[in-house]
């Protein structure tokens, strides 16, 4: 009896060793190599993206840093004194343009997303058609929206003329799908138990949505709006079609003809033969990059600040 015990114990120890031999590193070299390769692939993808953005920033810094001064922001453009020329009307134009875009996309984007997520009956064909359309619109090239704006907003139905308002409306339509998709995502992230809880207390659907769902989705929606604004600031092609001029020497007015915008102005300067104008264009790029970086930082901060686990 007593002799049998150590024997059995060692038998058990061997069995245990057989089980545990695979828990050590290096037991499965094939998987290890595969894992390293996959990681390298991912890192190189990330690296290419990073190099591209860093190259743009470095180029703008090297080329444009010399022209970053007060005059860059407050002076009017000039076609024969590049060392004094600035972006004043373009900056004011972009500010007005974006203000108009925000005024349009916040109610329209939130409204459309709320309808589609919380009120639309998915079984109806027209609601599915609307959803499909919005998803497709997000991928349409921006120049197409420029043509649309020219035909229906500048001329045609709305007949606003070549004014900032028309530019705002055109850019708003361009970024609206993004806002709607982001807002729907934000609404979907709010658990339905919130809506159910409010409605179980006798709130109407509208009350439950307004007081519970939308406030909870607001940070996510705001993030979508900010990212859309970041995109709107950079758009040049559709603006050229709806009347943004590449060269304006007076301050814009929302409802009057004649305005410019930062990317459009940069395009003008970059196209001139003199080296000084190229420096000016690079300085303009730098300004835009700083603004975009700032806006995106706000979006990231908002997302982190209001992130909630339900």
């Amino acid at each position: 009896m007593s002799q049998g015990i150590p024997k059995r114990a060692s038998g058990a120890a061997m069995a245990a060793a057989a089980v545990t031999q695979n828990i050590y590193k290096g037991a499965n070299n094939k998987a290890l190599v595969g894992g390293i390769m996959f990681r390298l692939l991912l890192l190189s993808a990330l690296g290419i993206a990073m190099i591209a953005i860093l190259a743009v920033i470095a180029w703008a810094l090297v080329e444009g840093a010399a022209r970053v001064n007060v005059g860059l922001f407050v002076n009017n453009p000039s076609s024969f004194r590049p060392e004094e020329a600035g972006y004043r009307p373009a900056i004011l134009g972009t500010v007005q343009l974006i203000a108009g875009v925000i005024l349009l996309i916040v109610p329209l984007g939130v409204g459309a997303a709320t309808y589609l997520e919380l009120f639309a009956d998915r079984t109806r064909w027209y609601n599915r058609l609307i959803e499909l359309n919005i998803q497709n619109l997000a991928g349409v090239p921006s120049i197409v929206f420029g043509i649309l704006g020219l035909a229906f907003i500048v001329r045609g139905v709305f007949d606003l003329g070549f004014v900032v308002a028309a530019g705002s409306a055109t850019i708003a339509i361009l970024v609206l799908p993004t806002v709607i998709l982001a807002s729907r995502e934000a609404i979907r992230a709010v658990p339905s138990s919130l809506l159910d809880g409010a409605m179980a207390l006798g709130a109407t659907r509208l009350q439950a949505v307004r007081k519970m769902v939308l406030p909870s989705a607001a940070p996510g929606m705001l993030t979508g709006v900010i990212l859309a604004v970041a995109r709107a600031i950079g758009e040049a092609a559709p603006l050229l079609l709806v009347g943004a001029a590449t060269f304006v020497t007076f301050d814009p007015n929302f409802w009057q003809d004649g305005y410019s915008a930062l990317p459009v102005m940069i395009y003008n300067y970059a196209g001139r033969p003199q080296e000084e104008f190229h420096t000016l264009a690079a300085a303009g790029v730098l300004v835009m990059l700083v603004v975009l970086f700032f806006i995106n930082s706000i979006a990231v901060w908002l997302r982190a600040r209001y992130e909630r686990t339900w």
Binding site: L194, D196, G197, M199, A200, L201, G202, T204
Partner: protein, 267 residues
């Protein structure tokens, strides 16, 4: 046995031949069930037999599920609850609901309780309404010093009692509870059970539970549901097997399936 019988009060709900469809599929069928005033009625049965479905049909929360359709008759104090002139929003004001997973609003404790009365435009001093509801839910002493704190900072049991307080604050007639303790520890569970015993003096309570001891402890009457096996392959239609006083269901049920279930042979 005979002298043991409870005296049935008014029928708050009377379900006759009630059924619920989700789209094309029939979830429960042929339910005949009275629910009496100031009692706790428990619904027990294996999962998927339609307990939650029947419960949601009692305050028209089923209306929120696309495709859900209630058939047969549901009378509430003698009125057809699914009549064309009935406003489901008004129904839900009178018949509150507590959910399986505590779902406090992402607001302060105070605002959670005040949300209902404020939204419904109830008259009266809001501080008093909130305090009264929290006291009735046996939560006041726990939270009176942190009413402005976010409700998410409370324990699960406290959150569930907050949800009960929130329901009480709108002065309902009935409180429906769908497995209110399934996410809670035993101590929190006992607290909620105590609370239910207290609340039934003022309210009619219907509770779904998968915990048979819980039904035995708190319920005056118990309804046993199961999936009807006689409807052929592939169909999973819930049915009410037996409804009786709780003591009868657990000691001397009329149906053998009930006996199997309460003695743990099945389910």
């Amino acid at each position: 046995m005979e002298n043991n019988n409870k005296v049935a009060g008014n029928e708050v709900f009377s379900l006759s031949n009630m059924s619920v469809h989700y789209g094309e599929s029939l979830a429960v069928d042929g339910v005949n069930l009275p629910i009496y005033e100031n009692e706790i009625t428990a619904m027990i049965g294996p999962s998927g037999c339609g307990k939650s479905t029947v419960l949601r049909s009692l305050n028209r929360m089923n209306d929120l599920i696309p495709g859900a359709k209630v058939g047969g008759q549901v009378l509430y104090h003698g009125q057809d609850m699914y009549g064309p002139e009935v406003d489901p929003v008004q129904v839900r004001k009178l018949i509150g609901m507590v959910f399986q997973k505590p779902n406090p609003f992402p607001k302060s404790i105070y605002d959670n309780v005040a949300f209902g009365p404020q939204t419904l435009g109830m008259k009266g001093d809001m501080d008093e309404i909130v305090e009264g509801a929290l006291k009735k839910a046996a939560l006041w002493d726990d939270v009176k010093d942190r009413l402005k704190d976010n409700a998410f900072g409370m324990s699960g049991g406290q959150q569930q009692r907050l949800c009960i307080a929130r329901a009480i604050a709108v002065k309902p007639d009935v409180i429906l509870m769908d497995e209110p303790c399934s996410a809670l520890d035993p101590i929190s569970t006992f607290k909620i059970e105590d609370l239910m015993m207290e609340l039934k003096k003022d309210y009619t309570i219907v509770i779904v539970t998968h915990n048979m001891q819980q039904a035995a402890r708190v319920a005056d009457r118990t309804a046993f549901f199961t999936v009807d096996t006689e409807r052929g392959e592939g169909s999973r239609v819930g049915q009410l097997v037996e409804f009786d006083e709780t003591s009868k269901i657990f000691s001397n049920p009329a149906d053998s399936r009930t006996l199997d279930y309460v003695t743990g042979k099945f389910g």
